[in-house]
Symmetry: C2
Subunit: 431 residues, 2 copies
């Protein structure tokens, strides 16, 4: 590749998620050359990923080409490549294609991935939800399970197909459980002739003492009731102890189920480990108050890849607002260095969190205020539409939601993918 | 499976394309049980498939779950399965999963697939455009080629990446060539920093004496001029003689190109051959004037799988209107048999054909009338919107088109797919 220096200092940003993209945009007016590297060609609006999994939205509704987003930022260029190593001494990042990119400043924003707490063998059976491919995989498994149930004569196996276990009671697990249950309850019934899709079981398993733990006790209780009202079975304080081929094991209990979705945890991508700096238990890089690496003021780590434990909030969660604010802060600190000004210390302004519980129901914590039910759901709709990166996505997602709400028939119920991929379900459909 | 007879005669329909779906709907009021078998869960609006390949539309815009389309037809059920054989004597179709479906009447509407005229080894390098997976594969190759070009230092290899060859000057090839060239010319230029995307070459290769041969000489000429005006290079009367790893060979000429798309021909699916009845050269089943098999009045073959050569029109082309009208006719003839009435002979009412040539330009033959330019394009828009199976798709596709037309920025420009799939381009991106 050989990015020529051409005078201006080069800022390499690894990862075009919320943090990396925000940093790139914040450097729009800076006298630097921005090189944004990502292994995907698109920025993904991850908070709505579960709606691709549940067949409400299409990938194009929540993802936009990174090049397109930055097309008018003349000091930025985009490189589609996977970063595999960082050479702190020579100030270079190595790419999977063998090339290297030199930097004057580096922002690592490569994010996290699903973590199975040492049981990586569970990954194949219980896919996580981090990428568009994950979402399409889950959509495919969910839709295929009903097809398999419809064709199955054995009532026991049929029940296995109609049992869906979602592991992890954070926002992703809660939103997925609510939306999948409502699909089975509202969208499918008239389409199948042999099964009662409204009797499909959706079981949400949470090892801790409550779902949506970081929302506070009141909202956690409210969310639990909201899910149970639409028929989701919630198991609190029950860690998953084993996964069998056709069952989930919770201690003494064995739940026969053919579809398991993993929303229980994430860990930082392995890139952090290649830095040879101290990491926390989830593999996140311990950063300085200004988000830089200890002893490497030109290298910043932000978002899910960073463990920021300074300040009153304690260790920050891996959510989009943290990444966005850190992207801003890292960009500001790079500009401060260029002007030989003092750097700022990162402070997180927590604006709250929200999660939907299906049709017309949500919980929201906004500063000191709490919302539940329909008002929370409207707030959720509004906030998420406004946060979508592209105006065009906003318009289309609004109409998709309006359509799905009025008709209860979301549009994207397609089973896609190469038949040769050999999902277990399909071999089951064959035998 | 074991479909119970429950008195009413069973009509098994194989394939939920235009012909099979129309036949199922036409039997809505008939005293029969309809079993519609398809290996996909969705009906695909194939005439717009090239717009998924060119990243304008999402799969959900042009495909709808078969179950959803037939949800209110109480005498119909849908089976997701692949039919592998037909036992004419025992009146059963065999499924890939080992089960069998018994029928009283059978409609075979399993369609066609890309055909490489005996050079099946070309399939991997030059994908055809028959399924949504094909369209996403082509989209991926097209978008990745620009990414590779942007990263390439060697000007010769860069030119190879920026050369796209489309083989076959029928409607699919023409529409794909026009839309891909306009993407490169109008949508991409501001997004890349190192390449001139508007200089990308799109070459349409046609072995015969003109493109859109079945539109007549005047429109064929007009289409040629229309494509050349936007910069598509059209090669007439030049059959492709070989495909090399990085080049297309046309007799003496060698065109270096890394992306080749196959739109040159189709042949019937192999199911026809398993019937042990006379086939034509493309593997299509020769049918009686009433669309039934010779000696098997309870078995009908329609659409791309059928060779219908009776009547003044000669051998009918493999297009949607033929399939739809044949689906209607087969359904009517089944009902005639049930009522012991005489069957009707199939007569094709040719309402015309149309093809777009990019933005605001098309050719259309409507009965004895011809349209070109903007009026033809408006007619094309209107007709295709009206033909979309679902009202909901119609609304969303209209807005997608409006958006793409006004902004020149189609929305679905995502490179999706498992990285492990190992497309050649990606290994190239790595080395």
């Amino acid at each position: 590749m050989g990015i020529q220096r051409e005078g201006a200092p080069v800022v390499v940003i690894v990862g075009a998620g919320f943090g990396g993209l925000k940093a790139a945009r914040a450097l729009r007016q800076a006298p630097v050359r921005v090189v944004l590297v990502d292994r995907q060609n698109h920025h993904l609006f991850q908070p709505l990923l579960y709606q691709v999994a549940s067949a409400t939205l299409s990938p194009a509704d929540i993802a936009a080409p990174i090049r397109h987003i930055l097309r008018n930022q003349r000091n930025a260029e985009v490189v589609l490549a996977e970063v595999t190593s960082v050479d702190l001494e020579d100030r270079q990042v190595g790419l999977a294609n063998g090339h290297a990119l030199s930097y004057d400043f580096l922002i690592l924003a490569a994010g996290s991935r699903s973590s199975y707490f040492g049981r990586d063998d569970w990954a194949k059976q219980a896919p996580g939800l981090k990428t568009l491919e994950d979402a399409l995989d889950i959509r495919r498994r969910f839709l295929l399970a009903f097809e398999c149930a419809e064709q199955e004569e054995d009532p026991e196996i049929r029940r296995e197909w109609l049992t869906f276990v979602i592991v992890g009671g954070g926002a992703t697990g809660v939103e997925l459980a609510g939306t999948l249950k409502e699909m089975a309850r509202l969208s499918f019934p008239r389409e199948f002739r042999r099964i009662r899709t409204d009797r499909a079981r959706v079981i949400l398993v949470e090892a801790g003492s409550g779902i949506l733990a970081n929302f506070g006790l009141g909202l956690s209780e409210n969310a639990l009731q909201g899910l149970e009202r639409i028929g989701v079975e919630v198991r609190i304080g029950q860690p998953i102890t084993d996964l069998e081929a056709r069952a989930v094991i919770l201690g003494e209990e064995r739940i026969p189920a053919r579809t398991v979705i993993w929303a229980a945890g994430v860990s930082a991508v392995p890139l952090g480990a290649s830095l040879n700096v101290p990491l926390d238990r989830q593999g996140r890089v311990l950063v300085q108050p200004d988000l830089s690496l200890p002893g490497q003021p030109e290298v910043f780590v932000i978002g899910d890849l960073a463990a920021f434990s300074h300040g009153p909030a304690g260790l920050l969660p891996g959510v989009a607002p943290v990444a966005v604010q850190q992207g801003d802060c890292a960009a500001a600190n790079i500009q401060a260095s260029l002007r030989e000004m003092p750097r700022q210390v990162f402070r997180y302004r927590d604006k709250g969190s929200m999660a939907t519980l299906g049709r017309g129901r949500a919980v929201a914590r906004l500063g000191r205020f709490s919302l539940t039910g329909y008002p929370a759901w409207l707030a959720w709709l509004f906030v998420h539409l406004m946060l979508l990166v592209d105006f065009r996505s906003r318009v289309f997602v609004f109409f998709e939601w309006l359509w799905a709400y009025v008709t209860t028939q979301p549009r994207a119920r397609l089973i896609l993918g190469d038949r040769a991929q050999g999902l277990d379900m399909e071999s089951s459909l064959k035998g």
